[in-house]
């Protein structure tokens, strides 16, 4: 018997265009409060994320390390805008597609690559791997891989900030799949009720693994905020300036009001969900279309066109980043694996905990 699409529970039988981007801002960088000298550095930041992950994928395919590998490629404007707009001591927490955010925050490529390789010099000492990068010194609180489970943690970071009156705000990133978890709804309710200074950001890249957003979420994602009277909005995550423009407003608002905000960022991942993703849930045309407004190329074009820097200067940055990533690989390869004794280190703070045998 033929499978009838109209009898299916989950909408099925067709490929959706996963994401429609809002129009990018036309504002120039100076209007957004960015100085000339910042732009090449933001370009460096974004390109480092891109090149790091391209190389990380190569190393994975060469069998240099195991585990899962979820690439952020395509979404770099979101992380770059975040670290540009937020203060360095504001608290960032994210999900499992996390390499880009850690690198953007300043965690060294060597420590990140070593973490992928499972080495003791990794940013989580080889205990976390690809999905669990941590750099608490830089107020980067991980890397969390149970979908949606870190949303209450983000609110908790904000609660502690508000309690301690330290002026810091928290920003909590998750994918569109996490919007469907109960944790989001419980946390939104409490965050609004308790007026917690936290920005919840759904990086809506169109797909929860292989399920298009229209197939897993009823309604528009950002409108989930309205059920809790939470301020909400949408941003174009494929355009750095649009992201910065939106975050400028949102961060100011959250800092001043001490109340939460739910931001839906429309973005796109160019690679699969993980390394084993055939990608047959989306069309080649869709992928090609999104490649035409690659956030990194867009920034590069702007910088050259506006004569903020020359193409040659940007090429030099590309060369430097290339070398930096190669150095990171060398560092990771040459680092030691954790000592055997590390098996039981950091389970507890208590040093003499009598582990059961």
């Amino acid at each position: 018997m033929a499978k009838k699409a109209d009898e299916a529970f989950t909408p099925t039988g067709m490929v959706y265009k996963s994401t429609t981007l809002p129009k990018p801002t036309r504002k120039k960088h100076k209007t957004l409060g960015l100085k000339d000298e910042q732009l090449p550095e933001i370009f460096r930041n974004m390109y480092l994320q891109r090149r790091f992950e391209e190389r990380a994928a190569q190393m994975y395919q060469k069998g240099k390390y195991g585990g899962f590998l979820h690439l952020y490629i395509g979404q770099e404007a979101v992380s770059a805008a975040t670290v540009t707009v937020l203060n360095d001591d504001d608290d960032i927490i994210s999900a499992y597609r996390v390499h880009g955010m850690a690198l953007a925050r300043g965690t060294s490529p060597g420590a990140c690559m070593a973490e992928l390789f499972g080495k003791k010099t990794g940013c989580s000492k080889g205990k976390g791997g690809s999905m669990h990068f941590f750099d608490v010194e830089r107020h980067f609180w991980g890397g969390h891989a149970i979908v949606g489970a870190h949303i209450p943690l983000g609110a908790g970071l904000a609660m502690a900030n508000k309690y301690q009156k330290n002026g810091r705000i928290a920003i909590c990133f998750f994918g569109d799949g996490a919007v469907d978890q109960g944790s989001l709804n419980e946390t939104f309710n409490m965050a609004q009720l308790w007026k917690l200074p936290v920005i919840f950001v759904v990086e809506n890249n169109g797909y929860s693994m292989g399920t298009a957003v229209e197939r897993h979420s009823a309604g528009q994602l950002h409108k989930r905020g309205e059920a809790y009277d939470m301020k909400n909005g949408v941003a174009n995550g494929m355009d750095l300036f649009s992201m910065i423009d939106t975050l400028n407003d949102v961060v100011k608002e959250v800092r001043e009001t001490n109340e939460p905000y739910f931001l839906e960022v429309k973005t796109y991942r160019y690679r699969g969900h993980s390394m084993s993703d055939p990608g047959n849930y989306r069309t080649k045309e869709e992928l090609e279309e999104f490649r035409t407004f690659d956030p990194i190329e867009r920034l590069k074009d702007y910088i050259v066109k506006e004569k903020v820097a020359t193409k040659k200067q940007l090429d030099e940055i590309v060369e430097e980043v290339e070398q930096e990533v190669l150095d990171a690989i060398e560092f990771a390869e040459n680092s030691d694996f954790p000592d055997d004794s590390e098996l039981f280190e950091h389970v507890y703070t208590q040093e003499d905990f009598p582990f059961h045998k």
Binding site: K125, L153, G156, A158, V347
Partner: protein, 326 residues
């Protein structure tokens, strides 16, 4: 020294610690304005206010996770569950986040948090409200588990739990909240992982924790009439567990009965029994026996419930088995 109820001991521990450490907060359902579903937190809202004593919605996952996030970032939350039967809704936050984030971050942060509230059965409440969870939590690396049986222990142990820099599961019982015992006003703490011999005897070792400890005492009184002197060990902490104390006692008594309100399959009693056979095999004069609830959910009907819940007679029978008096 004044006699105090179990609930007073728990409250005193929290109040005293909160007075000396501003970073401690208490969150849970009905803990503030209602003064606690079981009056454990009575008066705390009046003393500390809504910034530190926080009523939550019925969102166990949400407030457990917010507590973990706050603990990562400098606070020392106490999370009260109205019962641990409801904590199951927030289990992901306890098992995946509280217990593991320190490890996965390579030790970059600590999570000083206490999850506390009543555990196990409390009369005819039906199957979902009657589960003893100590073995489940004790199974998870990264957690510490305490389960006091008396007011004196409860106060000293809860202070230890609150001061601990790791996540602690602190189990209580609705049916013990009204129990009275002399509890000093002076400062004292009881260390984690240290049991207590609460009755000395030479004929059999009974290991019993939480509410079951009291059944063991009843059984021991009856057994004494038959000339059997039971040594009762209250392990107090479930994890780490004071196996040394149990083994040393068995070296003297050569017999052991474990009383545990968990289900029998893969419960605390199973693990304690395994360790005894491995570490005290040559000292045993009889196979170790255990008294637990059955391998089935709690029934409602009084008749069936009484059949389901262990009683002193079950313990007496088990002791008679290991002493070959049956």
């Amino acid at each position: 020294m004044a006699e105090k109820q179990f609930r007073d001991a728990i409250r005193e521990a929290m109040v005293e610690e909160m007075r000396q450490d501003e970073s401690i907060i208490l969150m849970g359902e009905e803990v503030a304005e209602y003064n606690g579903a079981y009056k454990v937190t009575q008066g705390m809202y009046d003393e500390f206010g809504g910034k530190r004593i926080i009523d939550t919605p019925i969102s166990e996952l949400g407030f457990s996770g917010i507590g973990v996030g706050a603990a990562m970032n400098g606070l020392r939350p106490i999370i009260e569950f109205m019962t641990f039967n409801f904590a199951v809704v927030g289990l992901d936050q306890i098992i995946n986040n509280a217990a593991k984030i320190r490890y996965m971050s390579g030790g970059q942060l600590s999570i000083p948090i206490v999850f506390r509230g009543p555990n196990a059965s409390a009369g005819q409440l039906g199957a979902t409200h009657s589960v003893a969870y100590e073995s489940l939590y004790a199974h998870i690396p990264g957690l510490k588990v305490m389960y006091p049986s008396e007011p004196y222990d409860a106060k000293g142990m809860l202070k230890t739990a609150i001061r601990d820099n790791d996540p602690v599961i602190f189990l209580e019982s609705e049916q013990m909240y009204g129990m009275k015992q002399e509890v000093p006003d002076e400062e004292y703490t009881i260390p984690l992982g240290v049991g207590k011999i609460k009755r000395e005897g030479s004929d059999v070792t009974i290991v019993a924790h939480g509410k079951m400890y009291h059944l063991a005492q009843q059984a021991a009184k009856e057994l004494a009439k038959d000339g059997i002197e039971a040594e009762i060990i209250d392990p107090r902490s479930m994890k780490p567990f004071d196996f040394k104390m149990v083994i040393e006692s068995i070296k003297k008594t050569n017999r052991c009965v474990i009383v545990d309100e968990s289900h029998p399959f893969a419960g605390m009693a199973s693990e304690i029994g395994f360790i005894i056979q491995r570490d005290a095999f040559d000292y045993l004069d009889a196979p170790v026996q255990r008294v637990t609830i059955p391998d089935g959910p709690a029934p409602f009907s009084k008749h069936l419930f009484d059949l389901w819940l262990p009683n002193a007679k079950d313990i007496i029978d088990a002791v008679k088995t290991v002493t070959y008096r049956n």
